[in-house]
């Protein structure tokens, strides 16, 4: 297996807010690393093949949770772009075609997952994209509010493989 360690900064952590789209690459999100760790290794596909693969945008200000949800989605064969803020997610959405889903943490600084959900659903270009909210807290009013705003699902963290299976199965049925 090819083991090139090229970074993509698909998930930029607190400092950067990076988020490069994975054009031409397999579904791996790479944390921009400082000293300690590099997560994930890209595998190169043809550009044409990569762009036809469904792309998921994962949004979470926690680098740990970004890594985990990215790995879970990768298991389901999704191409993943992981970013650390709603603002960055909107930037990516403006340039990335073929986004099949947004999965976002609820509680993030500056722009919450709910704020991001609202912006997506208010946009004529983006409103068809399913949005899944994740949260570590089970707050019924929060869940209801998100679902009423058009969220596809609301997952409690830590997210499990069964959660990803459920939402991806539902998306296939759409």
């Amino acid at each position: 297996m090819e083991a090139s360690k090229q970074e993509e900064a698909a998930a930029g952590g607190k400092q950067g807010g990076g988020g490069a789209c994975c054009r031409g690459r397999d579904a791996r999100a790479v944390e921009s690393s400082r000293k300690e760790s590099k997560v994930v290794v890209p595998v190169v596909h043809d550009d044409a093949e990569a762009e036809t693969e469904p792309c998921v945008i994962a949004v979470d200000d926690s680098s740990v949770d970004r890594a985990l949800v990215t790995a879970l989605l990768r298991r389901s064969k999704y191409r993943v772009t992981a970013v650390d803020s709603g603002k960055r997610a909107l930037e990516i959405l403006g340039s990335e075609p073929n986004v099949s889903m947004i999965i976002t943490d609820y509680w993030m600084p500056e722009m919450t997952g709910y704020d991001l959900l609202k912006k997506v659903k208010e946009s004529s270009e983006l409103k068809q994209i399913p949005v899944v909210i994740m949260s570590s807290e089970n707050v019924p009013t929060r869940i209801t509010r998100c679902l009423e705003e058009g969220a596809e699902d609301f997952l409690l963290k830590p997210v499990r493989p069964a959660d990803i299976s459920r939402i991806t199965t539902r998306m296939l049925l759409h």
Binding site: E36, S37, V39, S63, D65, A67, S136
Partner: protein, 161 residues
């Protein structure tokens, strides 16, 4: 490709088994430092990401050190700002939950309870416990990954059934 999963025996040794018989599914829970979520993290490791678990743990300690530092500063600079203290601890608790750091998560919850009660002394005591658990967890996991590295391809992974 080197398989970094430890046999159940080695994992118990690394995480501090006190000699009790562990059902294979309970191996990682020995000592209570980690719960089943840690197994879920390990299950995401594969040939394409052979060091995934250690990388996630590294991210956790990087994040948690920052959050603990933030809380420490907040306790000093913003006395009785329970809302601020709680917000930081909520983030830390979330990270603990994500990697299965159950004991540390429990102390985080105690801290948040004290915030809810408006109990600054309780918060201070809880915070010291959070820091102790953080240090202990770091030691345990460093030992664990040391074993993983030493185990090599021959040593591993009988995956717990």
């Amino acid at each position: 490709m080197r398989n970094l999963r430890l046999s159940s025996h080695s994992r118990r040794a690394a995480l501090g088994d006190r000699g009790r018989r562990a059902h294979p599914d309970e191996v990682v829970a020995v000592g209570g430092y980690l719960d089943e979520q840690f197994c879920q993290v390990e299950d995401l490791q594969d040939d394409a990401s052979p060091n995934f678990t250690e990388e996630v743990v590294t991210l956790f300690f990087k994040d948690s050190a920052r959050l603990i530092s933030n809380i420490e500063q907040a306790l000093e600079k913003y006395p009785k700002d329970f809302s601020r203290w709680d917000a930081y601890m909520q983030q830390l608790k979330g990270s603990c939950s994500s990697i299965g750091a159950s004991r540390m998560k429990s102390e985080c919850m105690s801290f948040r309870d004290c915030c809810g009660q408006g109990n600054p002394e309780g918060c201070m005591r809880s915070f010291q416990k959070v820091k102790r658990e953080h240090g202990a967890l770091r030691q345990k996991l460093e030992a664990y990954f040391q074993l993983v590295r030493q185990a090599g391809p021959a040593g591993a992974a009988t995956r717990p059934v």
